[in-house]
């Protein structure tokens, strides 16, 4: 935040914005895409090798379950488990890799090992929307709150609002999200009985016919309440504090003083000059966060029994379902890479400095 943007650049109109957006878009072309593809490939290969180094394998885990429940010798259980699963533990890893890569080129993520015959893509499509919905909604809400509250605090800094909100935001920012979730269940749910835990967990009331009916949508929102609240509570502090300091920094800039001097209305200065520039670093951060929305929050989904991609991933890890794990890691990597590209594009479109000089990054 050291360089000084020119005043005239800030005054740009939407036509100019389009022009720069186009330029930013042409800037990221084949090269960016290729870089992204290489990163995705590297992550894929890395996780492919890594997850197969974990102790035990899907057949062994299932065999142990069978041993526990059905009193077979380990050998018998093993051959039965092997018959149930689509996985050959004796196949060399390089062969598995080539096979997987071959399928991947045809956009086929393969089949789940522990649930033979179920395509991994189907599994991901089953869990992904719920995670994107709950985490995404949480991110959106906390970002919006953060922007407005942060700006207001910066504007009236030193006031009661500033002090009170700063204290609350610091506290929320300091506490890990799973601790917030546990405290909600422990105190609001069990000790005080304010929340009906039995009905609040899960994703949706299964008696309702899925569809765009008010009841169904209401039920989805109702069940998402706890996780979304937790996500918001855990992240909103960070957004507020960042926005506040970013706004304070912007308020001190010369062009803001100049705008005031030119007699522009308070409101116009705040929205057109301060707000937009202060938001700049936050927007890129938002774009990057979007990439991680897909991965969900493993522990929160576990605590709230909200069956999203994160919970699914942990289940797959415990069962050593390599193909399912691999699929989830791949989807997350892809979304993170695209979110980063998005962040670059946004940054280029919004940051006057990059527009003028184009030498940063």
């Amino acid at each position: 935040m050291e360089a000084r943007p020119d005043i005239q650049v800030v005054d740009s109109q939407s036509a100019a914005l389009w022009k720069t957006l186009r330029r930013a878009l042409t800037g990221f072309t084949a090269r960016t895409l290729l870089q992204g593809a290489i990163t995705i490939w590297a992550v894929m290969t890395f996780t492919f090798i890594l997850i197969r180094q974990m102790p035990s394998n899907p057949v062994q885990i299932e065999a142990e379950r069978i041993v526990r429940e059905e009193q077979l010798s380990y050998d018998e259980a093993y051959s039965r488990a092997a018959a149930l699963f689509d996985f050959n533990p004796d196949q060399p890893i390089i062969e598995q890799y080539v096979e997987y890569l071959g399928r991947l080129v045809r956009l086929d993520l393969g089949q789940s090992i522990t649930s033979a015959g179920t395509p991994v893509l189907d599994q991901i499509l089953q869990y992904l929307p719920w995670t994107v919905f709950s985490v995404g909604l949480g991110l959106l809400i906390s970002f919006t709150i953060g922007i407005f509250v942060g700006m207001a605090m910066a504007y009236w800094r030193g006031g009661i609002l500033d002090n009170v909100v700063t204290a609350i935001a610091s506290i929320l920012f300091g506490i890990p999200n799973y601790i917030i979730a546990l405290l909600i269940i422990l105190i609001l749910g069990v000790q005080l009985g304010l929340i009906d835990i039995a009905n609040a967990l899960g994703r949706v009331d299964p008696t309702l016919e899925p569809g765009f009916t008010p009841e169904y949508i209401l039920s989805i929102l109702q069940h998402a309440l706890l996780p979304v609240f937790t996500y918001v509570a855990a992240t909103v502090g960070g957004w507020i504090l960042t926005m506040k300091s970013s706004t304070i920094a912007t308020l001190g800039e010369e062009y803001v003083t100049a705008a005031h001097a030119r007699g522009l209305s308070q409101w116009r200065v705040l929205t057109a000059y301060v707000g937009r520039n202060a938001m700049l670093p936050l927007v890129t951060r938002l774009a990057i966060s979007i990439g991680f929305v897909v991965g969900g929050s493993v522990i929160i989904e576990d605590i709230y029994r909200y069956r999203g991609l994160g919970k699914f991933l942990v289940t797959a890890i415990v069962a050593r379902d390599y193909t399912s794990m691999q699929g989830v890691f791949l989807v997350i990597a892809i979304s993170v890479v695209f979110a980063n590209i998005l962040a670059d594009v946004l940054y280029g479109a919004l940051d006057p400095r990059v527009r003028v000089g184009g030498k940063e990054r």
Partner: protein, 584 residues
């Protein structure tokens, strides 16, 4: 022969009339609220042969949809005929099952020998363990099937009778392919075999055709609960008193608030003692049935001095099993009494009074343990710690499953008690998958795992630790406990593997009994593993939602809370359990 034809005719006649009759029946009012972590689509589907299908997904409620041939009554050690009408052994060569002729599928067609044969044809391709005992499966007539026995044993009867029969309208094509493949003489694991295996696993039927009084479709499977609906054509459709079964989704922690909130009729989850207490405070009835197994100290017999029976006997005498049981599972664990490698209840059932009296119960007695160890040349050093006869400290690492609260507690308590006696033991928590690997590889000294087995057969009980965790049942190169299965005992050469096999061989209990008594006596003396406690279920039963459950001393509770032969299955399907005031 004419009699059979006549019977078939009558059956067919009944079969065509019954559905018409049946459909006039109305679903009973009342809902049963169960709980189970079933599979959700797409992992969950309707193929009963594949993981994620009803058999692996629904837990005990699976048998409310597809019925087995018979139900095992543990207290009587006998079977009640369900889809089968009767059965008999033909000498030691074969086992013959006669199916009921009035049993119908939910689509109104009769349940016949073809269904049973098809079920086993597919099972053979999937390497069901039934084929350890069974050779050929042949149709005698429309309702009679003959299993030739590769390995004559009462266990064969147990396994076959408790198998559920699947519908051949659904699985017929696969069954035909399986029969053809087997008839062609294809080798196990040949390419064609594996291809058919894959085809079976990946088959996704569109519907369930049920033999039990309940049926469901994938539309009934929701993410916080799923529903089973009453259907009129089952042999239990008349008797069962519930019209709907609603199964809440979830593992222990997810289900707990529902249970405490009075929303669950019955749950099979293993609840921690604190929850047990909370359930009692909430006025729920807790059913404590046997599991027939529990926590034991596992010992690596390759490591000195643990390989000495005297050391193990001394350990058995210095670990207070009452304390151990309470810390393991609260009131849902009992201290082991007879230390014979079999559930105490089964020992009383199988051994004569004199034989039971001859067992060493290893009562808590540090003084006797002291004398025993001093007698084999062990000494205490200045700090009171034990040294073995080579002068080395009696020290070991005791590994336990980090994630298993109950076994972890058992291990930590054993460590403390052994140290109090003067051993030098360090406890260490390990991830359970890693610990399994470690034990199998013989990469441990002391650890905790189960003795016994959920099966009520002495062979399975004794084999529990010795087949799954000893070198005899493991793959090449794995030593496991490394308890030598051939040894001299009381001046006699013993082949323990053969002796345990003899406890289940043949069809005559009287012949098996002396082998059982001897194997138990040997286990009791040598303690390949040291049993500590025997686990009990702590299943909550909400009597506002279900009435009619018999008193605690009723023999049905001896059946246990497992998925097969669960007592609630019996009580519900037979109509003994009825909807309570809040379930209507």
């Amino acid at each position: 022969m004419r009699k059979v034809t006549l019977l078939v005719l009558v059956a067919l006649l009944l079969g065509s009339v019954a559905p018409v009759l049946g459909q006039t029946g109305e679903a009973p009012a009342g809902t049963f609220y169960g709980a189970w972590p079933y599979f959700l689509p797409p992992d969950g589907h309707l193929n009963s042969f594949s993981t994620g299908g009803p058999a692996s997904s629904l837990g005990l409620y699976y048998r409310w949809v597809e019925l087995p041939m018979a139900y095992y009554l543990a207290a009587e050690a006998d079977y009640e005929p369900w889809l089968a009408e009767s059965w008999e052994f033909e000498g030691e060569e074969a086992f013959v099952v006669h199916l009921r002729q009035d049993a119908l599928w939910s689509d109104g067609s009769p349940i016949t020998a073809d269904d049973l044969i098809g079920t086993y044809a597919i099972g053979r391709i999937l390497k069901w363990s039934d084929f350890n005992y069974v050779g050929e499966v042949e149709k005698v007539d429309d309702f009679t099937v003959r299993f030739t026995l590769a390995n004559p044993s009462l266990l064969a009867r147990h396994i076959i009778l408790r198998t559920t029969i699947r519908n051949m309208t659904v699985y017929g094509d696969l069954a035909q392919k399986a029969l053809d493949l087997y008839a062609s003489g294809a080798a196990i694991d040949s390419e064609a075999w594996l291809a058919l295996q894959t085809e079976i696993k990946e088959f996704r039927p569109e519907q369930v055709i049920a033999s039990g009084p309940f049926i469901y479709t994938l539309d009934d499977v929701g993410d916080s609960f799923m529903s089973l609906h009453w259907q009129p054509n089952s042999i239990f459709s008349e008797s069962v008193q519930f019209g709907t079964v609603q199964i809440w989704y979830g593992e222990t922690e997810a289900v707990t608030p529902l249970v405490l909130d009075g929303k669950v009729t019955y749950a099979t989850h293993g609840f921690p003692p604190a929850t047990d207490q909370a359930m009692q405070d909430a006025g729920l009835r807790i059913i404590r049935g046997p599991y027939n197994y529990g926590a034991a100290v596992y010992i690596n017999h390759d490591v000195y001095p643990w390989s000495r029976p005297e050391v193990r006997q001394a350990m058995a005498m210095v670990i207070d099993r009452a304390e151990s049981a309470f810390l393991t599972k609260g009131l849902s664990a009992l201290p082991v009494q007879y230390m014979g490698g079999m559930s105490d209840g089964l020992i009383q059932l199988w051994l004569s009074e004199d034989e039971v009296a001859a067992l060493n119960t290893y009562a808590y007695d540090p003084a006797a343990a002291e004398a025993l160890l001093l007698g084999i040349g062990f000494t205490r050093n200045a700090e009171g710690k034990w040294l073995d006869d080579n002068g080395d400290p009696v020290a070991a690492e005791y590994t336990f499953q980090a994630e298993w609260a109950d076994y972890g507690a058992a291990a930590q308590n054993a460590v403390e008690q052994l140290n109090a006696f003067g051993f030098d033991i360090t406890g260490r928590a390990v991830q359970w998958q890693q610990l399994d690997e470690d034990i199998k590889a013989g990469n441990f000294t002391l650890s905790v795992r189960s003795w016994g087995a959920s099966s009520p057969f002495p062979t399975d009980q004794l084999n529990g630790p010795l087949r799954s965790w000893n070198y005899t049942g493991l793959t090449e190169g794995q030593t496991g406990l490394n308890f030598p299965m051939e040894f001299e005992w009381n001046g006699e050469q013993i082949d323990f593997t053969a002796l345990i096999a003899a406890t289940g061989a043949g069809l005559d209990r009287e012949v098996q009994q002396p082998f059982v008594a001897k194997a138990v006596a040997i286990f009791n003396d040598l303690l390949p593993v040291i049993p500590l406690s025997e686990a009990l279920t702590n299943n909550p039963l909400n009597e506002n939602l279900a009435s009619g459950a018999p008193a605690d001393d009723d023999p049905i509770w001896r059946n246990g809370g497992g998925s097969a032969d669960n007592y609630i299955t019996y009580l519900a399907l037979k109509g003994i359990l009825t909807p309570g005031p809040d379930a209507m």
